[in-house]
Symmetry: C2
Subunit: 460 residues, 2 copies
């Protein structure tokens, strides 16, 4: 561990210079959603490629139909070292509304905040600051004899717009991007004192169903009673989706859903999640959903089903006595464990078809289907990362879930066959996507130290 | 009956002149929906008032916030004669799409059609032709010794826009408009050989319910599972509205709903309504709704409930993983018999409230509530009208219902305490509201004769 100590000392010694480098990146207005900033996105990509080359790594800016992708490669000092792929994104959300910022969003500064010094700028936390924690760890290794792992770098510029160019890029560069494990730094800590590893992301099936009844919109006075109303049919389908215990009633839906290991369940209970505060923040006092499950379980480790939209008939002001020809709804299913997205699609569609009265037809539109990500509990990379984080933070890392999906992680699994280790140092109050985004200097500095420890641990 | 014979002969003798008078009215472009035609509406009102005065009746064109209303008064020759109020409307639908007309919509002409000669023009059937059947009957009485009834005439010019000025006008002129019975000529025959009296119109309750859950739209990945989804709550409410037998499940909903008298039920069965054709015309093969009821019953004499519109969450193209803060639906209830609209509103709202989980609230918006119209079976005016129509058409009049509402009829009952006798001579293929609107010359001529017989019969 002598080398790791030297690396950590190097990170400590270069702390101010590291902040300076991050500031340089933060000054680039790489807003991906607005075409007016395309040149700035390109500048950010060039800057990152330059940083990698400055460390002696191979690096290229690759064009895509959208913003460019940076790919870099660095060799470990040992031949038999493991190979990781590090992912981050250089694009940021638009800074609007500008008037709510206390300083210029692209003029980074240090400010005094609740957790001490904070870096304030658009992208400070999401994801430029996080991305740079890893680069600073790599720099410290280079200055102390070399990297412990072979590393492929992958920085995209379209994360904030849904990564439209990435899937094709991964497919086209499968061999070049192949690695043993993906490292992703775009998530958060449990709290300012407790590091976290996101070990589960829910999968997502998106299905739209449009129910067709009579051949045209009808007058509900002249036809109401004997004529089937597609809104009623659709409502019954939606109502049937959950049983009285809040479970999803589609046959076979829970196939592949496992219970948490006892130690993880214990850890989650120990995290003392404030359910009342979670609900109060959105105006509620009582959780719904599966009976006998905690809110944390429901969001992280249990599947769910929500109708995201419904429309049929007349939706303007006032009334219109129409019996509509059709009604539609958009359904989303969040998947966990080994639930099979394709099987869920089929089971859902069968469930809908079984509920159609005679003369009623349904049209389905798929908007995507991807499985859950689950880093196997007890796997070796996970154990090593846990020990590394424990050593840095003097506290056991929380193994947390995320109710949402991070599509890139699904793509790594699907297209490159890699699990992803998601470690990040963002805090809940970082105001990502909001005015006055910040990143605690502690997150930045101890984040770099954490990656140094993790890289060393992964190399064994 | 010597007098009535003379009156009928007079109608026969003046047939061509009557058509000429109707043509004069049809040439006036009294389109009420388009402000560009306001002067034409005024012209139609003036023309009608002139006709009434030409018959020696008192008549005035009264201004309203919208198009004017014509009010006329005529005395019977006998002091103890009954007093009826005749209602019609001089406004017409816009003639668009013009390119589908085979002749100018406001240049009336006689054409040869399936039932012989037909008057082709916008408004020929709805409602200028129908209205003039009554005026021609009155003219014939005037030419043969006087009217058998006291008559108040009420012609409005906003029927095609929902009669916005009429309720206030009725309320403000209650005493002047009071009569024993309203006569309305804006409905149809059963078929070209069978006259009809519309004895029941369904009432209408229009309620909008907006269900509120979380305080703002949420990410369905980060909140889906423990957080209540207003679309699901609303869907359950809609699904619960009907039971497995197609009956409406709101407690007390059927209070005031009576079975048809046996003779009316027999008559309806004898009408040989073609259910398959009714359904096929709207792309269906099977009727839904209350088990064990005919389509005719379901539309005419049974209450119904339809959701006319529903909206919540994301309704654009593609998907959005939103768990919405609210969802809303527009409900309509068609009422029959003595169902109390206010009681239905209360029962519906209670039904909804009972189905709200904790934290979920509902906002109701009323868009109107009016009861059904039911001319009492076996009442004296109805019996007399039946005999009069039988004499003219040599066929028993069908006592039919109408699934829709005619708001003016509800207003007569509510504001003036009058039942309405609805007799009209329109045919199903008259193309009202469509290009090439027509009115059979037989409808026009025998319609006038029918009113002559009805007026004579009502006077006893």
């Amino acid at each position: 561990m002598a080398t790791t100590e030297a690396v950590l000392n190097s990170i400590d010694a270069n702390r101010d210079a590291a902040v300076g480098r991050l500031f340089d990146l933060l000054r680039i207005k790489s807003v991906s959603t607005d075409p007016a900033f395309a040149a700035e996105c390109r500048r950010a990509a060039d800057w990152l490629a330059g940083e990698l080359r400055g460390l002696g790594f191979a690096a290229e800016v690759r064009t895509t139909p959208g913003h460019p992708i940076v790919v870099g490669h660095a060799k470990a000092k040992r031949k038999d070292a493991p190979h990781v792929l590090f992912y981050g994104h250089y694009d940021v959300q638009p800074p609007d509304p500008l008037e709510l910022w206390t300083s210029e969003p692209f003029a980074p500064r240090l400010a005094e905040g609740e957790q001490g010094k904070e870096i304030v700028a658009r992208g400070a936390s999401d994801d430029k600051g996080q991305l740079m924690t890893f680069l600073e760890a790599c720099r410290a290794f280079k200055e102390n004899g070399g990297l412990p792992c072979n590393i492929t770098f992958l920085f995209e510029g379209e994360e904030e717009t849904g990564s439209p160019s990435l899937p094709e890029f991964l497919a086209a560069n499968k061999d070049e991007l192949a690695a043993d494990l993906a490292l992703v730094c775009d998530t958060g800590m449990w709290n300012a004192a407790t590091p976290a590893i996101t070990v589960m992301l829910r999968g997502l099936v998106l299905e739209e169903a449009i129910v067709h009844g009579p051949s045209r919109d009808l007058h509900s006075g002249l036809f109401g009673g004997p004529v089937v109303n597609p809104i009623h049919v659709l409502a019954k389908i939606i109502a049937d989706l959950h049983d009285a215990d809040g479970r999803i009633a589609i046959p076979g839906f829970y196939d592949g859903v496992a219970e948490l290991p006892e130690d993880v369940a214990d850890q989650w209970r120990a995290l003392d999640f404030d359910e009342a505060a979670f609900l109060a923040a959105v105006g509620l006092t009582e959780a719904t959903g599966e009976a006998g499950r905690s809110v944390m379980e429901k969001v992280w480790s249990r599947p769910s089903c929500d109708v995201n939209g419904v429309v049929g008939g007349y939706t303007g002001t006032g009334s219109k006595t129409v019996l509509p020809a059709k009604a539609g709804a958009k359904f989303s299913f969040r998947l966990v464990g080994k639930q099979d997205p394709e099987a869920i699609v089929e089971a859902f569609r069968a469930f809908v078809r079984e509920r159609l009265p005679r003369d009623v037809t349904v049209e389905f539109i798929s908007h995507g289907a991807s499985g859950a990500m689950q880093l196997p509990f007890g796997s070796e990379p996970l154990n090593r990362a846990r020990r590394a984080l424990h050593a840095e933070w003097d506290k056991e890392a929380a193994l947390i879930g995320c109710g949402g999906s991070i599509p890139i992680v699904g793509a790594f699994k699907r297209d490159l066959g890699m699990d992803a280790l998601m470690v990040g140092f963002a805090l809940a109050d970082d105001c990502i996507h909001s005015p006055n985004e910040k990143y605690a200097l502690t997150s930045f500095h101890k984040g770099a130290r954490s990656w140094a420890r993790i890289l060393a641990a992964l190399a064994g």
